[in-house]
């Protein structure tokens, strides 16, 4: 079937199998490998992207379900070469180690900050609780998001 998805602002049309998952569409069809696949069961969140304005786990969304809608991935966070404060925050606060969960964490954090520019630690932990990280013990991820909140003026628009 033919699907057209606006990915990071660009329309991408492909002829795909109806069963193709969004994560495979992004990675295998479009070459956007920043979003990762980690578990199959919506537990780990390595595959989180935005579908329209909402973070989704792309391993449990069909590419067909994204037809006519827009998707935003980690590759779209930096604008004109300038990092989003969330990205800079992860660097500043050592919010990543192996980097595998990082894109999903950052996309979720960006969504949170767009709705609440000044979230408390408890809210950050709540929002990130659907994503797994095996390296950081979450502490520095929470700090990274706080860093981004405190440096919102640097937001790349």
């Amino acid at each position: 079937m033919k699907v057209t998805v606006t990915v990071n602002g660009t329309d991408s049309a492909r002829d795909v199998e109806p069963r193709l998952l969004l994560i495979h569409f992004l990675r295998d069809e479009l070459g956007l490998t920043g979003s990762h696949w980690g578990c199959d069961t919506s537990n780990c969140g390595s595959c989180v992207v935005w579908l329209d304005e909402t973070p989704v786990k792309a391993c449990t969304v069909l590419a067909a379900m994204a037809d006519g809608r827009s998707v935003r991935t980690v590759e779209d966070l930096a604008k004109n070469g300038q990092l989003d404060p969330v990205q800079q925050g992860f660097i500043e606060c050592h919010g990543l180690q192996c980097g595998f969960c990082t894109p999903g964490m950052m996309m979720t954090a960006r969504w949170l900050l767009d709705r609440n520019p000044d979230p408390a630690e408890a809210e950050i932990r709540e929002v990130l609780s659907g994503l797994l990280c095996r390296c950081t013990g979450y502490e520095n991820i929470v700090r990274s998001v706080r860093w981004a909140a405190e440096h919102a003026e640097d937001t790349a628009k």
Partner: protein, 782 residues
């Protein structure tokens, strides 16, 4: 310009935050095919027949490989890292649920999965042995009838049995406790996988693999596949977490390589999460009985341990040859004992093969859990505060270097200082008062203490090898004419930040900026040989090699600088990143200046080659012994058994810290691991051998909500034998934290008289412990 040690942001982060890392799954080659593995649904069954005709007829399938195909290439079996053999694809029977039976190569991975459904395997199910405690019973189902007539793998002992028994006979007090360290899984977020590309013209095999040990893998591929080693290149690109899971070679890797050889095209195989949890290297599965002998005043005199180790269907544990039970021999812990003895028996069961993995420092995790749980059992019996009991028995600073009763020589330590700092940070005495008040109100608060000593940085080549390959690591350092440098290391990172910390070591030794040092790793054609990153060995072994090779470069630079300054090399002094004539610092030459001169037409003394490049192979004289004191505070809901970790205080001493930010990050991750293992994680089986932990729906991992905000502290006791005084730290928190959490939960349950309950302390397990009916966590209750 930053030089030397200290907090430095990581170089590697720039690509990761942009989604521009290159993990194995991100490698796409022209004409690449995709592989998928057909796995056994049975824990134990004879294979009657395998019919692949329908799969081969699938229009997108390019090859179907079975054990029979591999047999023709002498690849049906492969050696394990413990000298056993493991079926690549089963030929005679399947021995665990999820075992590899066939491999399909197709144009895309959806088609490969479809074709698996078309393979018809006829099995004759056999009774399975899932309970290690039944494995040696007469008449128990025989797992390895291909090589043995029993399920027994090895017996191993350490320490002095006679002397230990004597102390136990004389002791005023003895305590004994059975405990299980359940089977757990490292579960890195990136599963294991490979892209194999065999070039039929050049005969060269290139693989991109999730490997923590690319050089060792290259050698093993050569031995197994019969390819000359120089025609094999193993690339470990960015790795999405390892934790020991990516040390072994898995059947899927060899299948993908075979698939590439057969089709002449590159083959990618990435396992899915269930395959990862059900078939790749698990950890622990140690059934232990611990005993302590002590005096009434709380002086611990001896420890005695018996262990039944479940190694699954193939003995695939990754550890130095002489140590079949890993480094469990350091079960004497952090205490000054009169005697110690342990006896370990390992058995085969119809469960996934492997063992050791998961940030365990070669089974020191099990050893530390055993001794730290036993100290709390003794404290319980003697009614002595567990922190106080530890303080009374810890090794004293003046006893170092200390050789323990099982022969391990601890290099350095000041244990009481570290424990005291943790207690001060926790406000220990106040916490105890608060706990008493809360108990009076019916609240269950628990305070758990653990003190661990690790032995990491394997290891001295004389004693430590894997399949005959000594555990030394090479390094090369090149200084370019304009004064920037390239360091090539044998170890590689799975998130540890080598590109940053190893640059910091070189920068510190040579007075360069860390940004002027490029670290190359994870490619066997680009780096010198070494055994890889696991067992917290990168800093103790390759970090030492890096410091030494930088000092070699510095000495070569001294000769050149002397020629530049028309002085005697012996008259030169190195300080602040420059060689200068004693008493004349203004005339000094930097490494960059010297590098240019070393490549120039400057006349050098006879026998001096010019250039500054150097190499080194580091064979460590001893392991390094990091240690730490951990305190955990939990609240337990008596109605549901749910445990909340309220606080966690961790004081680590890993000697000199190259980059404290990275050290703390590693400790954070290990603490979360500890909470996971103590409270949530277990790969359980039913009585028939069916795996009950095959997805993240069943194998639970801690999230941001289960983890508290960690409170870290540090003491610094340099390693006396390491060139920069550093010790390993990557696994310290994983090793040290589980007993702190468990001790805290058991402490909370004190009003109920609970002395022990096995991990994972799920709400159900805690609730049943409260009812006086703790249950086994490794088998499902029928």
């Amino acid at each position: 310009m930053t030089t030397g040690y200290g907090r430095m942001l990581r170089k590697e982060d720039q690509r990761f935050v942009r989604g521009m890392g290159t993990y194995v799954g991100d490698v796409y080659l022209p004409g690449m095919l995709y592989g998928a593995v057909l796995r056994s649904p049975h824990p134990h069954a004879r294979i009657v027949s395998i019919d692949t005709v329908a799969a081969e007829a699938h229009p997108k399938v390019r090859a179907v490989i079975t054990g029979h195909t591999l047999k023709g290439r002498n690849l049906a079996w492969m050696p394990t890292l413990s000298g056993d053999r493991q079926a690549v694809l089963a030929t005679d029977k399947v021995r665990f649920q999820g075992q590899e039976v066939a491999f399909v190569v197709a144009e895309d991975h959806y088609a490969a999965r479809d074709a698996l459904e078309l393979i018809d395997v006829e099995y004759e199910p056999l009774p399975a042995v899932a309970d290690a405690r039944r494995a040696l019973d007469p008449g128990a189902p025989l797992v390895r009838d291909d090589i043995k007539d029993s399920n027994h793998i090895f017996d191993w002992e350490s320490g002095d049995a006679e002397r230990t028994d004597q102390v136990f006979r004389d002791a005023e007090v003895t305590v004994s406790q059975d405990m299980l360290y359940p089977r757990v899984h490292p579960a890195p977020l990136e599963t294991c996988g490979i892209v194999a590309d065999f070039n039929q013209v050049s005969g060269k095999l290139t693989v991109w693999a999730t490997s923590q040990a690319p050089h060792a893998h290259r050698t093993l591929y050569s031995m197994v596949a019969g390819l000359p080693e120089h025609k094999i290149r193993v690339i470990s690109p960015d790795i999405g977490g390892g934790f020991g899971n990516k040390v072994p070679i898995y059947p899927g890797y060899l299948c993908a390589i075979t698939g590439s050889m057969i089709t002449g095209r590159p083959v990618k195989w990435m396992e899915d999460r269930s395959e990862n949890l059900m078939s790749t290297c698990f950890a622990r599965d140690f059934h232990m009985r611990g005993e302590l002998a002590a005096s009434r005043d709380g002086t611990i005199r001896a420890v005695r341990v018996t262990v039944l180790a479940d190694h699954g269907a193939f003995n695939g544990a990754a550890q130095p040859t002489k140590y079949p039970a890993g480094f469990f021999g350091v079960f004497t812990g952090s205490y000054d004992l009169e005697a110690a003895h342990c006896q370990v028996t390992a058995v085969y069961t119809n469960k996934a093969p492997g063992g050791v993995a998961y940030s365990c420092s070669f089974r020191i995790t099990e050893a530390v859990y055993l001794v730290e749980r036993m100290v709390d059992v003794l404290a319980f019996e003697l009614n002595i505060d567990p922190a106080e009991l530890r303080m009374r028995n810890l090794l004293r600073p003046e006893q170092f270097p200390y050789t323990c009763q099982t022969g391990w020589t601890y290099d350095s330590g000041d244990y009481p200082r570290t424990l005291r700092l943790a207690m001060d940070m926790a406000g220990y005495e106040d916490l105890r008062k608060e706990q008493e008040a809360e108990r009076a109100r019916g609240h269950l608060t628990g305070i758990g203490v653990s003190f661990f000593t690790e032995a990491v940085g394997a290891g001295p080549r004389k004693h430590m090898d894997i399949l005959g390959i000594g555990m030394a690591d090479g390094v090369e350092l090149r200084v370019h004419p304009t004064g920037t440098a390239v360091l090539r290391i044998s170890v590689q990172t799975q998130g540890q930040g080598h590109e940053t910390t190893f640059a910091q070591i070189v920068a510190s030794e040579l007075g360069l900026a860390p940004d002027d040092v490029e670290v190359v790793h994870g490619d066997t054609d680009q780096t010198p040989f070494g055994l890889g990153t696991y067992g917290s060995r990168s800093t103790p072994v390759s970090g030492a090699a890096t410091a030494i090779v930088a000092r070699k470069v510095r000495e070569r630079a001294r000769i050149v600088a002397a020629a530049m300054l028309e002085a005697d090399p012996d008259d030169l002094v190195w300080d602040q990143g420059r060689w200068f004539v004693k008493g004349d610092p203004d005339s000094g030459k930097t490494i960059a200046e010297i590098a240019w001169a070393a490549h120039s037409n400057l006349e050098l003394p006879d026998g001096i080659e010019g250039q500054l490049d150097a190499t080194c192979v580091y064979n460590p004289p001893n392991l390094t012994y990091p240690f730490g004191a951990y305190i955990c505070v939990v609240d337990v809901d008596p109605g549901t058994g749910k445990v909340d970790v309220r606080r966690f205080i961790a004081v680590d001493d890993c000697g000199v810290r190259i980059n404290p930010m990275i050290v703390e990050g590693q400790v954070h991750g290990g603490l979360a691991d500890g909470i996971g293992m103590a409270l949530m994680e277990s790969i359980a089986f039913d009585a028939d051998g069916n795996c009950l932990g095959g997805s993240f729906m069943d194998y639970l991992l801690p999230t941001s909500l289960e983890c508290p905000s960690w409170e870290l502290g540090a003491t610094v006791t340099p390693s006396p034998h390491h060139p920069i005084g550093a010790k390993g730290v990557g696994e310290s928190a994983t090793v040290g934290s589980p007993p702190a959490v468990v001790n805290a939960v058991i402490d909370a349950l004190r009003p109920y008289g609970v002395r022990h309950a096995d991990m994972p302390l799920t709400p159900a397990q805690v609730w049943r412990a409260i009812q006086g009916r703790p249950f086994r966590t490794d088998l499902a209750i029928s």
